[in-house]
Structures are given as structure tokens and as C-alpha cells.
């Protein structure tokens, strides 16, 4: 008798095992398959099924009767003991799936790699699965959903380095896409980045003020020059490091263009004499003749740098520029007034909340940052904590060295004045 021929069925993944059980191997033990030899009816064969978990299940059988239609390289193999083998394979398949989702590194890896190819070809918002101009909330939700799908932690349980690498690769794509869209969202909405998140601060200020504060500045936010704002509160996205779109192409120092000057400027189409260097740059032409307010602080400058004053100012601009230089007036005025009112009535918590929110809206307004500390000092006074109060007032003075009220409070504290919230409330009356 000849030795049985070995037939190998290699299953690298559990879904292949599943397909083999469902589509190939019949319950009566018959199996139609290609064989690498000329099949003769009655020839003994051994079937070896190699499983993804490195086990090999072997079954003995014989080549069944050949019909005339059969090709010589195909045969029907009749296996003995097939029923027990099918039960065993089904149990192993179920166990593998229960132990880890698909239980199947190969299938997961194939899916991940296909996903990666797709991600590489997509635009940023498609990678995240959000609309083209998402709101901060929509963007964040979309990002979380991607993290839940693509993060390497999702596949850590499979213990496969290849799978982990594919997931990391996908996550790098998602992260990059998120950071890119997030930058646009920050420019389009009144939003800031905090950690991984993007937060709308306009809504926060309204929420904190409680009385429906108008957070759209009627005057341009001169302390917040990173993102120019039109006179109607609509933001012009300006990538950091690049001059705003509307500024003159010769890149003169950005200059505050007052309403008066726009009104007296020559019409855009009129021929214009070359401006002498001492004069402000030409007024940017706006197609609809809209009045345009540009920030007075050069992009990327710090709050400590005094705003660049326009030369040859009118009397109005001189006053405005002067007050700006002293940082005693600006679009945050309404907040400053509201915060001071709260300090006067000894509402330290309310003042702190409003000042925190307002300082986010106008991060370059030194008065607001200082008032955050002053509110904290008032709270310290209320709990008779002299050290904390002095430290907070000192911090306020560091933030806003021109704060006369803070200086008076500090002097009083250092001279041993009685610690009451009114000590600060009276100073800001």
C-alpha cells in the first residue's frame, strides 16, 4: 500500500478557518479541493489543517470516486472522523473570537493597513470624518471617535508589534489632521487650544458674565493682535507668522487705521502718490468699501511691547494711542468695569470668574490678567490669609505695573492694614 499523500490547508487567519468550515468541508466529511497530484479513486490522503494558533489538525481519508467532469488536479476527498474535527475546529474558532474580538491579528492588520492607505489619500477633514468648516465641538467629537478607532491602545491586547505600528501610523495621520483643522477652527471661531482640546471662549464669557455680555468687540481688540477682527466682529483667518491678508503687500509696520483716516483716505481706484516713509502705509483697498480695522500691534509681538504708534496722528488717534500705550483703555473696558463692580461689593468669586473669562477673550489686556490676581487677593483677604493676599497683589503688579490701585493695596497690606475684602473693594471703587 502506498503512503498517504499529504494535503495541507494553511489558515493564517481565523476568518479563513471559518470560511473553510462553512464553504469547503461538508458535514458528511466530503471535501472538494485541488490536489497537487493526479488523483486516483481510493488513494489514501492525510489532510493537515494549519491553524492561526500554530496548531495542526490532521485527518485521514481517501480520494472519492471521480466523475468524468472532474479535472485530474481536483478531487473529492472523503475524510474519516470529520464530525469530531468540525466540532473541535468550531470550538477553537469560537474561543479565539471570544478571547479578543476577532481574535485575529492577521485580519485586523489587513484592515488597518487598508485603512492607512485610505487615510493617506484623504484631506484633513475627511480623515477626521467631520465637515469642512466644523465647529470646535464637532471637531472634538469627530477626533474622539477617531481616537477610539485608531489609537494603538485599541489593538494592544493582540500583542502584535506590526498591528501596533500600523495603529500608531494611523494615529499620527489623525493627530496631524486634527492639529491642522484645529488651527483653522481657532482662527475662524473665538477659540483657544487647551491641551488636546479646542475651547470656544466667546460662549464662556457670556456664561461667566451671566447677564448677556456682548463679547463681540465694537472696537478692534488691539491687545489681541494675533487674529485680526473686522469692524463687524468677523474674523479674518491669519496664519501665524504671515501678515494678515488685508495688509499692504510691501509689509510696512502694521498700523492702526482709524475710522477717520479711512473716511479721508482717497478712493481705492484713485491714483496715489508714493507715500513718504514717515506716513502710514496706504489704506488697504476693500472691494466693497467696507471700513477695515487692523490691529495696531505687530503680529507676534508680546503684550509688553508698546503698540507702534502711527505717525502724524490726528488728535483722536493721539489720545487712543496714548491710552493704549498706558494700557488703561481698550476693548476690555466693559469687563474691567464689571469686574471692578464685583470687587466693590466684595464678590471675589464672581470677580475671579469674570476676570478669568475676560482674560481669555483679551489675553493681551494686562489689566484683566492683573484683575484675576486681585480677585484672588480679595478672596485671600476674606479668609485672613495675608501671605497669599500680598503674593497675589504683587503678581498683579508684575502683570500690570501701571495698576495704581494695586500699588495702593500692596502698600496698605505691607503697613499691616486689617484684612477685609473691603480693603480691596474700596481701592477699586
Amino acid at each position: 500500500m502506498t503512503a498517504p499523500r499529504l494535503l495541507r490547508v494553511r489558515c493564517a487567519r481565523w476568518d479563513q478557518v471559518d470560511a473553510f468550515l462553512r464553504k469547503k468541508l461538508r458535514h458528511d466529511g466530503r471535501l472538494s479541493m485541488k490536489v497537487p497530484f493526479t488523483a486516483e479513486a481510493g488513494a489514501p490522503v492525510t489532510l493537515a489543517i494549519e491553524l492561526p494558533n500554530q496548531l495542526v489538525v490532521s485527518l485521514d481519508g481517501v480520494v472519492g470516486a471521480l466523475s468524468e467532469r472532474d479535472r485530474p488536479d481536483a478531487a473529492v476527498v472523503v475524510l474519516t472522523g470529520a464530525r469530531a474535527a468540525i466540532e473541535r475546529l468550531t470550538a477553537m474558532l469560537a474561543a479565539a473570537r471570544a478571547s479578543g474580538g476577532d481574535g485575529d491579528v492577521g485580519a485586523a492588520l489587513t484592515a488597518r493597513e487598508a485603512e492607512l492607505v485610505r487615510l493617506r489619500q484623504q484631506a484633513a477633514h475627511d480623515v477626521l470624518g467631520c465637515s469642512r468648516g466644523p465647529s470646535p465641538e464637532e471637531l472634538r467629537t469627530a477626533w474622539r471617535q477617531r481616537v477610539r478607532r485608531e489609537h494603538p491602545d485599541v489593538v494592544a491586547r493582540f500583542g502584535s508589534a506590526a498591528l501596533r505600528a500600523a495603529a500608531e501610523e494611523a494615529m499620527v495621520h489623525v493627530t496631524r489632521a486634527y492639529e491642522r483643522v484645529r488651527a483653522t477652527v481657532c482662527a475662524d471661531h473665538r477659540a483657544v487650544i487647551a491641551g488636546t482640546s479646542v475651547r470656544t471662549i466667546g460662549s464662556l464669557a457670556i456664561e461667566a458674565a451671566g447677564d448677556g455680555f456682548d463679547v463681540v468687540p465694537l472696537t478692534p481688540p488691539v491687545f489681541d493682535a494675533a487674529e485680526p477682527v473686522t469692524g463687524h466682529g468677523r474674523r479674518i483667518p491669519a496664519p501665524t507668522g504671515a501678515p494678515p491678508r488685508a495688509s499692504a503687500p510691501t509689509a510696512p509696520p502694521p498700523t492702526r487705521i482709524t475710522r477717520e483716516r479711512v473716511a479721508t483716505a482717497p478712493p481705492p481706484m484713485a491714483p496715489r502718490a508714493p507715500a513718504p516713509t514717515t506716513l502710514p502705509p496706504p489704506t488697504p483697498a476693500t472691494p466693497l468699501g467696507l471700513e477695515l480695522d487692523l490691529p495696531s500691534v505687530p503680529l507676534g509681538s508680546h503684550s509688553t511691547a508698546p503698540p507702534r504708534a502711527a505717525t502724524a496722528p490726528s488728535s483722536t488717534t493721539a489720545t487712543v494711542e496714548q491710552s493704549l500705550r498706558q494700557a488703561r483703555s481698550g476693548p476690555g473696558d466693559r469687563f474691567v468695569r464689571a469686574i471692578r463692580e464685583r470687587l466693590v461689593v466684595d464678590d471675589a468669586a464672581g470677580a475671579a470668574q469674570l476676570a478669568t473669562a475676560a482674560a481669555q477673550v483679551y489675553p493681551r489686556d494686562r489689566r484683566l490678567s492683573a484683575l484675576v490676581e486681585i480677585a484672588s487677593a480679595q478672596a485671600a483677604c476674606a479668609r485672613h490669609d495675608r501671605l497669599a493676599a500680598v503674593a497675589a497683589v504683587r503678581a498683579a503688579l508684575l502683570l500690570d505695573p501701571d495698576g495704581d490701585e494695586a500699588r495702593r493695596v500692596l502698600a496698605a497690606l505691607e503697613q499691616g492694614a486689617t484684612l477685609t475684602p473691603a480693603l480691596i473693594g474700596d481701592a477699586y471703587r
Partner: protein, 393 residues
Amino acid sequence: MTIAIGLDLGTRWLRVAALVDGAPVVIATLPAAIGFLGAEPCTGDALARCRPEQRVDAVTAWLAAPATVGGGRGAAWPVVDGVARSPVELVAHLVRAAIDAVEAALGPVAGAMVAVPLELGALERRVLRDGVRAAGVDAVRLVSAPAAAAVAIDDDRPARLLVIDAGAAELRATVVEHVDGVVDVLAHARGAIDGLAGVCDRALAAAAISAGGLSDAVVIGSGAAALAPRVRARFPHAARDVDGADTAVVRGAARLARLFVDEPFAIAVDVIEPGFLLGAGTALTPMIPAGAIAPTREVRLITRDRPDRAAIDLELWEDGAPPRPYGRYHITGLTAGNGAVAACEVTVDVDRIPRVDASDLVHGNPLTVTPVVEVGLSPDEVAALRAVVTRRA
């Protein structure tokens, strides 16, 4: 059945927790100290047998003196009884003791989630990860402690928490968001233990949220009991008591560690802080910016000064004041020619640990990157140390 553990290596204690019937349980608390009687490491109660010069009392204090690839010494190592011990070795022995305790109680350990301070640098992170791997657990993930503490609070509702960590002398306030199974840190601030209001305000301001936007304010750490009344007074609507404030971090880490054996409980996402610098030639240039979300990757094109040079040396530094070196890499296999020849990739993984790859610009083939000096151990060195550490187990 294999289990996954959470570890919290603090300045005084090493805590280890595991999920038992789905709930995190603290299995052991060991002093974060190690002693050596000859070659035999002593932890826990056995420390009493060691004389002071045979002990290292605060293992975490030595993390910044890393071992380097090739057995070099990054900085002064602790000398225990006349023998200089690498911090990786100290961590490995200590963590092994914790793993032994878990394996005696529950069964083999499949993976470990290690809670680390938010601001821990890449050098220390690498030392910790190598140490845990040398202790016999290959699957390691690092998570920031406030995120772990937030996860310890078992709720399904979306949460925005202020986690106040009251240490011995220092206070840290962290704003953590835990929504839709993703947990991440929005902002943090630190200050003196008596500056609660200022620290919390700064953290909230940096996260751009008001106190009213918090769902919970919790105090953890050794000073939690003393601080809790003040937190309740400051955040009356959000203040919440945590059972076992000392162990919240390790219990959260254990819950997060479920990802090694099952679907993740939540996914912790970190922001890279500080960034990384690349040194090619004499100057250091920014490579990975601070504030990038991990994992991330940046690519730079590298040129060489002479066309016949077949290798380039690169350095990777962690940004800071001053910057700290992370590794120097030798890139070989370059194609002959002028101009930019190689693309250097720096990938910072989910644990905020960087690695360097390079590819040939002419053919796109990967180039050989050999760490000449690098913080941490090579895989072979980790395997060798593991053979020593696990021998007694």
C-alpha cells in the same frame, strides 16, 4: 488567565493594583526603596535587614541619571554598598517585587500601565519603561497620573474634572476631560500647598473654562484629607469625595490597564511637553513642538558637508532650560551625491518617548540608524537585565 496591572511609582511608595471582577483592587504597597545584600535585592519588609549604605531610599530621585545604550552612564548613579547601580536596574528589581506579589495572588501578568507625573521628561519615561520591561513585562504603557485619577472615578457620564493632587509640600491642579471613552489633560498648574485658590484659578484659566463648567473637583494624594474642606468651600457644586484618595491614581491605572487583555476602558491621550530639538552639525533646531498631541512625527531633510561622506551623525535633545540630550545617532548607507540626502523622522510615541528613523531620499530605502549613545537600554540589554532580575522569581 492573565491579568493586567496598574503601577504608581511615587517618591515614597510603589503601589500596584489589578482588576478583580472588574473592579480595581490595590494588591500591594511597597516602599519606593530598594536595598542590596550583596547581589540579593531587598524590597518591602526585607529592607529592614539592610544597613543605610546598602539602601536607595527614593528610587524616583535617580530616574534622571539614566543608563545609556552600550552600558554608558548618563550621569552619576547611586552607589549602593560600593556598587554603582543603574536606575533601570533599581526600577526593575522594585517592580519585580510588585509583580511577584500580584502573581502570587492572582496569576501571570500580561501588561502594566504605569502612572507617571504629567511633566515627567522623556529620559525618565524611557528609564521607567525599560525598567518595567526588564522586570519581565513586555507590554508597558505610561499614563499621566491625573488622567489615571480621573478614570478611577467610575462614572459613565461625560466628566470634566479638576484633579487636585495634594502632595507633601506642593499642590498640583489639573483639568482633565473624560468624554466618550477618551481621557485627556486640558491644562495644569502647580504651586505651594497653601495657594489652593491661585493654583486652581490658573489651571482653569489655562483650560479656558470657568469653575461652573466643572463636573467634579476631587482631591487626591497624601494631603487630601486636610485640603478637602477648602476644596468643598471653593467648588461647592463640584467638590466630590474620593474613597481612598491615596490610591486613586493606581486604581485608575489598573482600570486603564484593561487594554492589555480586553477592550480598553478609556484611551488616555497625552500632549508632548516639552518638545524635542534636532542637532545636525553644530546647531539645535526645533523638531517636535511642545503642545503636539502624541503620537506625532516630524521629518527633516538632512544634508551633508562633503559628497563623499557615507554617514551622518544626528543628535536628539529634549527641549527645556537647559535642553537635555536624549541620544546621538549614526546614520549609514547614504547614496553618493550632493545636497539633501536623507529624510530624518522623529516619532514620539503614545508614551511620549521619541525614536529616530531615516530614509534615503534618492531611493526611499530605510537607512540604518545606530544609536551611538542613547538614554535607556537596547532590547538586548533589557533582555540581559531581565534574566538577572527574574532569576530569583
